[in-house]
Symmetry: C2
Subunit: 437 residues, 2 copies
């Protein structure tokens, strides 16, 4: 079915059009094997398993390499043509029936944070392989070629996806990753070739769409008893280091009204960040996660504090507005406490909206499966944010129990995982029917 | 002159009595040699001098030992009989004319904090030796024996004075001091004998009075342009460690209203401590000087914070009241932020009031010298607080420029130092006329 790409991407195609994109009758009842996903998930959890629970499968570690070998085996079982690209990403290819159509990509990552869980990235990775296996077992050939992609080192800075959209710099390759290896060494270690990174770059038009299934990592879906989150976009993240200069002095001999207490100013700042961020409508978040007070003795008034300020929202303008309000309040706090504030911007990730047309297809697929949905931002970064620079993307969230992630206590229920994989499957089939032109 | 000790100590002796305690006519114009104090102070500053400025003459270091030898030489020049007691304190004795009168003690310390100044302790030590030399040069024999005492390791926990009032424990002798030596080793190093500490203990009645001249270490005298501070007492210090337990979670995926942010709770607590301490009349101080937030990453909501709370006041009951107010507010903060607060008492120093009769004599001496005075607490700890357990004590403060102490920038003006030594001299002479019975 040929439809206008621009109108689709903007979500402008109406209900009639959407209905026309329903599954072929013989595909409507297609379901993944949820039990098999869980079985594979438990098997993968052995690689980097911590004695105290949870998984440490840091990118470029031996556990990572073994986990990747296991995943490539699963791909072959699913009749995918498994290979490793020069950046170290794992690709599982499946031919399409259409002529000259670009591939549809879907996948996630299997590396974890130190002392993490086995759901973040893994659910989407194994869910994607399961979708491919389901298609294979049901002898369904899609029009577009399919590529299941397992991005390398997501947790260490979206390294694999940033190689594909060309954002990864030569300089970054020499940074030391959590494994102790430089990224360059790590890429070699997992079977890539850092001298041939140019070959993995893809440009707009090379990829029909990118879909990613992922755990929510927050507690919204569970709290609201909703089964599927349709991601509106990956939030922008701005991180500043804030230095507050007061004057270190004797805690016994300096009267309260003669103090220039940098920690008191910091306390007022932290409270202000929370108040300003929560005083506006919306799902923006603001966090002070790190703080250091110097000299740091019980009997010395802190003369200097360094803290981090992180703001996230889907809307760059809102982040800017929040920052301006916080900055103005910091000046007032500085004046009142005779301290000085200095802000240094450390990192900026711009927001990455998902494709509105794909969001609509995800909603339809979930609806046809009888699943409840809600639109929501992704507060965490994902490989999808870099894929959004070169292709329309869609992201499907499943509930995280208690909203816990990056922890051995990370958990998503098997039923929710199967639901997510089924929504991925049917969104893929709907997308496959489109010729976006 | 025989007066009632109890009435004197309570400051109950009226103006008539006070006038009667004025100096003998031939002593009224007695003055110390201020230039000599500064000359000696500069000479002593060579021991442990830092290339970048200031002095590191940590107790039991080689610099400390050399500085002590220098000071014993000054004592001999002042016709004092210099010796080292078993605890390592330096004593400079001078006989009195009265029969069976207990000695009057006066002095301070010459050890410094690392990267400290050359005024904290030193002004009182050299000022006391100068007082003795002035008496000697003017052939004045006091009725009471005099003992100039240079307490060892004041900065490392009032070790020398706590040996004298019997508070120093056997267990403490094995603690490692800043010099790297244990206190036991340190005492040997400076010429004491840690096996004979029992011999240095003194009980109430053994000492007529203890006087200490010291720099203020705060900025009150300078700000108010007052020349002499009459110390009302050394404040009590209560130190708690406060642990705040929240829940560490992803800063991107956890909405603001589902956070249990231990650092936000800590910020509200720090603000509350300041508000409560400053909302009451008086010179009490409250300080949060140390803070640690865990895990301490910009993108993780802090799950745990440990911070120090220190309260100081002359009145133990006020410290207790402040703590109760702070504790109640902490419970409210905990409830509002879904965190838990736990308080652990780490250290308590009870307040040590000075003797009211001696305060009055200091005021008279200063007045006769044409110097302005004010009553004030000592916010910092001093050897005088332990001497107060066994004897009536008086403390004389001179201004610290900009209120800076424990810093190479520590400074007191030569004129102020001479004033302080003159007040010490005349207070001593007034006290010497009394037979407290």
């Amino acid at each position: 079915m040929k439809i206008n790409r621009r109108e689709f991407n903007r979500g402008l195609i109406g209900t009639a059009g959407a209905l026309a994109l329903g599954p072929f009758k013989d595909q409507a009842h297609l379901r993944v094997n949820g039990a098999r996903i869980i079985q594979n998930l438990n098997a993968l959890a052995e690689f980097g398993k911590n004695p105290q629970g949870g998984v440490s499968r840091v990118a470029y570690s031996e556990a990572d390499r073994q986990g990747r070998e296991y995943v490539m085996g699963l791909m072959r079982t699913a009749k995918l043509d498994a290979s490793i690209d020069a950046a170290g990403n794992i690709l599982g290819r499946r031919a399409g029936s259409g002529a000259n159509l670009p591939p549809q990509l879907f996948g996630s990552h299997i590396d974890t944070v130190p002392e993490g869980g086995n759901y973040d990235g893994v659910v989407g990775s194994l869910g994607s392989i399961e979708v491919a296996q389901t298609l294979s077992e049901n002898n369904i050939k899609t029009r577009h070629p399919l590529e299941v992609i397992i991005f390398q080192n997501e947790e260490g800075g979206l390294i694999g996806s940033r190689a594909i959209d060309g954002e990864l710099t030569e300089k970054e390759l020499d940074l030391v990753s959590r494994s102790g290896k430089t990224i360059r060494e790590g890429i070699k270690f997992i079977g890539g070739d850092p001298t041939r990174l140019a070959g993995v770059k893809r440009k707009r038009g090379d990829i029909a769409a990118y879909l990613e299934l992922h755990i929510e990592q927050g507690g919204t879906l569970e709290a609201e008893k909703i089964q599927i989150g349709i991601v509106e976009g990956i939030v922008g993240i701005n991180w500043w280091d804030v230095t507050i200069e007061g004057f270190a002095n004797h805690a016994g001999t300096t009267p309260m009204n003669r103090r220039q207490d940098a920690l008191l100013a910091a306390a007022r700042f932290i409270e202000a960040v929370n108040r300003i961020v929560t005083s506006m409508e919306g799902r923006q978040v603001g966090t002070v996660g790190r703080i250091q007070a110097l000299p740091g003795a019980p009997n010395v008034i802190p003369g200097k504090v360094v803290l981090s300020l992180e703001l996230r929202d889907l809307d760059e303008a809102k982040i800017k507005l929040l920052y301006e309000k916080i900055y103005v309040e910091a000046l007032q706090i500085a004046r009142a406490s005779q301290t000085k504030f200095a802000f240094v911007e450390i990192n900026v990730n711009v927001p990455a909206p998902t494709d509105r047309g794909i969001r609509r297809l995800i909603a339809e697929a979930a609806n046809e499966l009888g699943l409840t949905t809600r639109l929501m931002p992704s507060g965490a970064g994902h490989d999808a944010q870099d894929m959004a620079r070169i292709a329309p993307v869609g992201m499907i969230f499943v509930p995280s129990v208690a909203g816990i992630s990056h922890s051995p206590r990370e958990f998503s229920r098997p039923g929710d995982i199967a639901n997510g994989a089924n929504v991925l499957l049917h969104t893929l089939l709907k997308l496959d029917q489109l010729d976006l032109s």
